[in-house]
């Protein structure tokens, strides 16, 4: 009995000691929290860490993998309570709360010392708040229209270049019994993608950014113009029926089955569409068509980033890791695995057809939006996306919805 007790005491002591050790970060130990729970991002990060450890044998990296959705709430806890040395997040307004509350640390010196102001120039604006840079961008991907080439060919439709052609294409598809655009708005953000493009094409980048920054009223007639364009599509029955019941993945099915022809989506839709059996002969990509002639064509291309929390314990190695992540060859390799586009200007985009198309498209524009829910503050984004969903089902409520959004704007941006 006594022996047993002793043993228990002993093992308890070792256990406590062990946890104490693992919690204390001795030099050369780097902790990274990521939300890369999907297979491709997970592998990309694992390879990245292996590469970094090979180049810097004195540093041992610990990776804490979080579930993608859960991460969005846990980041708040771990940034304050038990900060890692690095954490993944997103560019644009999405990082504002953490910058404002002093939970992220500026990494200007990493940009300065590694010539990143030049090599990462394309993403510099979206990483800058109050004149400082708050992290390292490592990947982005294009948005646009993914479509069924074979269905377009079968119905004699050329890739639409402008609004009239786009509507004509939809009308033809509709006549052939095919839903022009599939979408699943159950989780709201998909509708924001459509809004982004309609607004960017109708009113241009500057207006769109002013709107998401809260500088323009939601009842402005220019917003009204965007919504009326959208209403044309809704009234003509362009969108999948009952879209509010589906997630974006569920809305892929009609496209795979040939019941729907287009999807306004990010490049991440390509992988599941291919897995479902669509070949490169069937699946194509085109840039969202022009609406107001003469407006410079802007794109949505959300950027994923890595940040150093202000409470990080090993900032020296964290900065080394950030510098490594910014390297051209590292970003090339990493994005090869991710199936996305590297930020570094000297990196090479993957050879995949869709990546190349996206790369070409994004190289031709300097106006890159992050996506509605990253450009607008969280509350505005939530209210906006809910409004878009409601509008797509009940277009007659447009005025009421815009008034409601205006009310939210008055509160959010004061």
């Amino acid at each position: 009995m006594k022996n047993k007790k002793k043993l228990l005491k002993h093992s308890l002591a070792t256990m406590l000691l062990a946890t104490a050790f693992s919690a204390s970060t001795f030099a050369g130990n780097l902790v990274i929290n990521t939300d890369t729970s999907d297979p491709a991002p997970k592998k990309a990060f694992e390879d990245l860490i292996k590469g970094f450890e090979a180049a810097n044998p004195d540093v041992k990296v610990t990776l804490n993998l979080f579930d993608h959705e859960g991460y969005k709430t846990s980041i708040r806890n771990f940034l304050t309570a038990d900060a890692p040395d690095l954490a993944t997040w997103y560019a644009g307004n999405r990082m504002l709360p953490y910058v404002k509350s002093g939970l992220f640390e500026s990494v200007d010196d990493v940009w300065e010392n590694n010539g990143l102001n030049k090599s990462l120039a394309s993403a510099a604006a979206s990483m800058t708040i109050d004149g400082k840079k708050w992290g390292i961008p490592y990947t982005y991907y294009q948005w646009g229209v993914y479509y069924r080439k074979d269905l377009f060919a079968a119905n004699n439709i050329a890739v639409p270049k402008n609004w009239a052609e786009f509507k004509a294409a939809g009308a033809k598809l509709k006549a052939a019994g095919i839903t022009p655009i599939t979408i699943g708005t159950k989780y709201l953000w998909t509708a924001a993608g459509v809004f982004d493009y309609l607004n960017l094409r109708t009113n241009g980048y500057d207006f769109h950014m002013a709107l998401t920054k809260g500088e323009v009223s939601w009842t402005d007639e220019r917003v009204m113009k965007t919504m009326n364009n959208w209403k044309e599509l809704v009234d003509a029955g362009f969108f999948l029926d009952n879209h509010a019941a589906y997630s974006w993945q569920e809305a892929l099915a009609p496209m795979v089955q040939g019941k729907a022809a287009m999807y306004v989506m990010g490049n991440f839709a390509v992988a599941p569409l291919r897995e479902a059996g669509l070949t490169n002969d069937q699946l194509g990509f085109f840039q969202f068509p022009e609406i107001t002639p003469g407006i410079e064509v802007a794109e949505d291309a959300p950027t994923d980033t890595l940040h150093m929390p202000a409470n990080a314990k090993n900032k020296v190695d964290a900065k080394r890791f950030l510098a490594y992540l910014a390297q051209a060859d590292v970003q090339t390799q990493m994005n090869e695995t991710l199936g996305q586009l590297p930020i570094n200007a000297d990196s090479v985009a993957g050879s995949d057809e869709f990546l190349q198309a996206g790369f070409k498209m994004l190289s031709n524009t300097s106006q890159i939006a992050q996506f509605f829910d990253r450009d607008a503050p969280a509350e505005m984004a939530k209210a906006g996306m809910e409004g878009f969903q409601e509008f797509m089902v009940k277009p007659e409520r447009l005025e009421k919805i815009l008034k409601r959004l205006e009310k939210v704007r008055m509160r959010v941006y004061k």
């Binding site: 969005k72 709430t73 509350s101 159950k186 709201l188 879209h243 969280a378 809910e386 089902v393």
Partner: protein, 295 residues
């Protein structure tokens, strides 16, 4: 010391046993109630500095459409969820017989209460699916159009309540089955001698004896209705456009969800929900008190 303990042992012992419970209850229930009320007077994102805003959160609440939608849904939930009580009673009466294998049937009927609410939510989401769901396949088969229950603001709350009634009925059923065991057979026999049968027998002889079971069934159903959070979260996330939210879910959305983090506003919603529950809790406590004193 010893004599004090000896003389007061009977009085002190219950309190000693209660101490841990009271302590935990104060720490995890009473204290947070007051903390929430305090937070509701601040604008706070959970990270930065708290800013005192007085009753601003409540003023905003009074002018918030989403709040009234949630409140209305809460009432619909409270009223319709009560159907679980009679439904449970009738299933219990139906199962309260001695045939071969009755225990298996009872277990099967109780099954939905055992499985997780998340699973119930998923099963019903699939059942309601507009293209492949069983409900719409059946509707189409008899010549009706498909109804996207969870994507239609008119039906969504009712659709979720139906999903919730499934396990809740099972719960009420098990309460009544236990209650039925305690029904005095002699009284039934006496009633039959007096030529009572059917509904009259049920209403005047059996139901009064089931009163304790009914009381508990109502209590757990009210609590169930106010806890309807998980089904809503799984089946619709409050949508479409927030039309299936209840107060508990709205509070969560405002305070903790991806786009929320308005702790003060969330706390204000919580306080309103708390006040609504207080009405019910006060009534419940009053009844308990009367029963205890044998009134």
């Amino acid at each position: 010391m010893r004599t004090f303990w000896k003389s007061n042992q009977l009085k002190l012992a219950p309190w000693l046993f209660l101490t841990p419970g009271i302590f935990i209850f104060c720490l995890y229930v009473i204290l947070p109630v007051f903390q929430s009320i305090a937070i509701s007077f601040y604008a706070w994102d959970g990270l930065g500095v708290k800013e005192y805003v007085g009753v601003d959160n409540y003023i905003e609440l009074a002018d918030d459409e989403a709040f009234y939608t949630s409140l209305k849904n809460n009432l619909i939930w409270l009223i319709l969820y009560m159907l679980a009580v009679p439904a449970g009673l009738f299933v219990a009466l139906f199962l309260n017989q001695t045939v071969r294998g009755i225990r298996i049937y009872k277990s099967l009927f109780f099954f939905p209460f055992v499985i997780s609410q998340v699973v119930v939510g998923l099963v019903f989401s699939w059942f309601y699916d507009p293209t492949h769901g069983l409900m719409n396949i059946l509707l189409n088969a008899i010549g009706f159009d498909s109804i996207a229950v969870l994507a239609d603001e008119r039906f969504v709350t009712y659709g979720i309540i139906v999903a919730g009634l499934w396990p809740q009925t099972a719960y009420c059923m098990i309460l009544y089955l236990t209650g039925l065991n305690a029904v005095d057979p002699e009284q039934i026999e006496a009633a039959r001698l007096d030529n009572a049968k059917g509904w009259r027998l049920l209403w005047y002889v059996i139901l009064p004896q089931l009163k304790p079971a009914t009381f508990i069934a109502i209590v757990v159903t009210v609590i169930g209705a106010l806890r309807s959070f998980d089904l809503i979260s799984i089946m619709t996330s409050g949508g479409p456009w927030g039309s299936s939210r209840v107060l508990a879910y709205y509070m969560y959305e405002q305070a903790f969800s991806e786009y929320g983090f308005r702790m003060g506003y969330g706390a204000a919603i919580a306080v309103v929900l708390f006040l609504i529950m207080m009405i019910y809790i006060a009534g419940f406590l009053y009844k308990m008190y009367r029963d205890e004193r044998g009134l």
